[in-house]
């Protein structure tokens, strides 16, 4: 997979979640995603960026236009140096929450993405990557 273009944004406050949503929207428009696909990836980004700010105690979002076997996609990577997730399977299940949300963040973001990967270690932070392909 090759990266055509990339950018990174710090996620440390609630306002950064809004900026991240707007940036993801701009990149998905530029990639030529359909309106529904734009909405899906922006919504997933909103859930994951909020997790980074609240649970990860701040971190970053990296946006990349990636190219693989002739297709292009938008990859978003959320990284934090927070407490990490002890039980990933449990955290992915709907309705599980340690905060004040609905517990749909992780599972919902996965359902809204075509590719989803998560790495997390207690004490070592969390890294989540999602991709939406064009077409």
């Amino acid at each position: 997979m090759t990266v055509e273009k990339q950018s990174e944004l710090a996620l440390s406050a609630q306002e950064d979640v809004v900026v991240a949503r707007q940036l993801v929207r701009a990149w998905s428009v530029e990639l030529g995603l359909s309106l529904v696909d734009q909405t899906k990836i922006v919504t997933a980004a909103s859930e994951l960026a909020r997790n980074t700010v609240i649970h990860g105690k701040g971190g970053t979002i990296r946006l990349e236009i990636v190219l693989e076997t002739g297709r292009r996609g938008l990859r978003l990577t959320f990284a934090d140096r927070g407490p990490g997730i002890v039980d990933i399977e449990k955290a992915m299940s709907d309705g599980y929450t340690t905060g004040t949300g609905l517990g749909l963040g992780l599972g919902g973001a996965k359902r809204l993405s075509q590719e989803f990967s998560i790495e997390s270690e207690p004490g070592n932070g969390t890294r989540i990557a999602i991709i939406r392909w064009k077409g």
């Binding site: 609630q14 979640v17 919504t43 909103s46 609905l102 749909l104 919902g108």
Partner: protein, 125 residues
Amino acid sequence: MDRIPILKIGDFLLVSVQVDMHDRLAVSLQDDLTSRIVSSRARGVLIDISALDIVDSFIGRMLGNIAGMARVLDAETVVVGMQPSVAITLVELGLSLPGIRTALNIDRGMDLLKSAIERTGAASG
């Protein structure tokens, strides 16, 4: 700090969300609406989300909270104007907005509110 304006039209409160809300703004809207329902004795709340291009789990929860609190305060809530792409995404996210009445646009939302209030008025009177 930013605030989302709340307009009073007859017995109803009308809120039109025109900005990309950060979480604190959504929470302050929830608080403002609750106190306005009491101070204005409103019987219905109409929330226009036609300008929102996403509704995530946080905003979904806020809409549910508003509807729940309004109900306790004897007011009905209708959410109007959801964009089709937002509706598709919400369902996939796993949010079906239980307990929230929705209508296609403000006119239909007003009709829904009026008939809901007439019903509860008839039932209690």
